[in-house]
Symmetry: C2
Subunit: 341 residues, 2 copies
């Protein structure tokens, strides 16, 4: 159906080698024949077959994006990823690279999906999201020598892969700073369990800031829960029932914050009045919630574009003349002050 390079060659009465060279802009082809080839390609509506190309070049020109849903994820999933994905896809498209999305149930099955992509050579590289502190996907890819980059840091692997992360540590720090400046001393921290790396980073910043202000860290004010609304709902009362009640809570996740606010409401405690609430990663939900939640917001779409660039810079096939570079970046968040603190 579609015309091949053979059709072009036959039509022009030249060899397929010359046609290919002409199309690929190689130097050793006469300027005149190149024009004729290009014209014929347009006329016959020729496009190179990607499968043939992939086979010969050993590269598929597609990048896999793998996102691992948290256990017990909500119906609507993470709105977080759409803008990131948009940015990622946009930049990749500029390099004529396709984006393949690999999801999967949480758990072991996930690893299998990744192996399939790698072993059958369905993609040239992988972008990992939702990095865990100890992440076997990273271990696997490192060991396999397969190119990848991560959204989020991890303690797995050996720092030889590009990674882009949000500065959760600083956000935790700044959140405490802001609350202390407003007179709070009893500040709770609620973060996800599941070994998610950002939960640890957040807590580091939280602790550091408390120490700087000479406030002792009270383990009773720190709690882990499932990273969803139910988790926040379940775990928030625990810190509120601490002997010396907190006057502020920092939530390390928007869904947990919403669940937490529900629990607070049931206790008759109003965020923004009776207690200050700050959430570390802003989503549209924070804005429309009542009261609107003060939150730290990342620039997800630029981050998607940036991670694409970083990944490409690490691939020999795409790296410029300066060679392949491994880049690791941590981006700041912007505080969006609203009504909850």
């Amino acid at each position: 159906m579609a015309s091949s390079i053979h059709d072009l060659a036959r039509h022009l009465n030249i060899s397929i080698g010359t046609v290919s060279r002409a199309l690929n802009g190689r130097a050793d082809v006469n300027a005149d024949t190149r024009q004729r080839v290009l014209a014929a390609a347009k006329q016959l509506n020729y496009s190179p077959n990607q499968s043939g190309r992939s086979l010969r070049q050993g590269a598929t020109r597609s990048i896999a994006f793998m996102l691992q849903p948290h256990p017990g994820d909500q119906q609507y999933g993470e709105p977080f990823f759409i803008p990131f994905l948009t940015g990622l896809q946009a930049r990749l498209a500029e390099y004529d690279l396709d984006l393949m999305v690999v999801m999967g149930e949480p758990g072991q099955y996930q690893q299998e999906r990744l192996r399939r992509v790698v072993e059958t050579r369905r993609a040239d590289a992988v972008v990992l999201a939702n990095t865990r502190r100890k992440d076997d996907r990273i271990d696997y890819l490192s060991k396999a020598g397969f190119p990848f980059a991560t959204l989020g840091r991890s303690q797995s692997g050996d720092d030889t892969y590009p990674s882009l992360d949000i500065d959760f540590e600083r956000a935790g720090d700044e959140a405490v700073d802001r609350l202390v400046a407003r007179g709070h001393r009893r500040i709770a921290a609620i973060r996800p369990s599941h070994d998610l790396n950002f939960g640890y980073l957040f807590l580091d910043g939280y602790r550091k800031a408390l120490k700087r202000h000479g406030i002792e860290v009270d383990p009773g004010l720190i709690a882990d829960g499932f990273i969803n609304e139910a988790g926040g709902y379940q775990v928030t009362p625990r810190v509120m029932l601490s002997k010396d009640r907190p006057t502020a809570i920092i939530f390390n996740n928007d869904a947990m914050a919403l669940g937490g606010c529900k629990a607070l409401a049931e206790m008759g405690i109003r965020p923004g009045h009776d207690i200050a609430v700050i959430v570390i990663v802003d989503t549209p939900l924070c804005r429309y919630f009542s009261p609107a939640l003060t939150a730290f917001r990342p620039s997800l779409e630029p981050m998607g574009r940036r991670l694409a660039e970083m990944l490409l810079a690490s691939l020999p096939a795409f790296a410029g003349p300066e060679g392949t570079r491994i880049i690791r970046e941590v981006w700041p968040l912007e505080l969006i002050a609203r009504d909850s603190d």
Copy 2:
């Protein structure tokens, strides 16, 4: 690096043809040799190279999902698509099919992205979202004879492709029903412009229900706007300034509803008290907004799975013995009664 079918053949001292047949479960291979091949495949960690396979079979085993952002889309995009994508991906994965996501800026560029996928044979079929009333993507794919399915109906094409849509007409109808039953007679309808097909369907249902209740359709109570918050904010005052003020508004989009509520708030009109508000497609934002918005909710993840099935049933390579069938379905929405009406 990765072992090929040749490695297996050499290792077992048999021909590659036999190896391939053994792996693909063909009948004309001895049971014993098949076992040896399978064992060797496991031992050498063999996986078939997808590029080689694609080239030979003329099929890439991947499906492209194309979503076209509306002009002026929000930072966080459509949370709508995540669960749909999840379902779509899940079902495709069961058939060992990959999902490729093709986004793109609104406008002409979009068409070009689609052509690229089709002409370079990067995918075996396409799933279209955000169908317009007149949709040149559908026209193009139909003409090109390329397999596709759509989320949402359209007036383009000739009904020879699978499509799955939400029953916007019925939702519009039921929304009016509900409001009339609660005593409303002046009911406004706010929907998106951009030729989006569902806006028309919604309005059909709205009109039909009004007629059934003997209420005259007042053009002053119907308005179009950009399908985002700003659009709702801008257009809502227009219907409110109608000589005979509406007592209820049905919004055909969640973002427009949020913008509309902002406009209402500035006019001192409180949804749920001074005016009834219903939104046609529910998102998490509706739930957390204050007041929580009554809304019609689709089951997006099942829809994703279903559309995958429908698409596959239309592909000769996947259709069962009963041949390829074109299926078109319209799914109902579930009313989630909250506090805004």
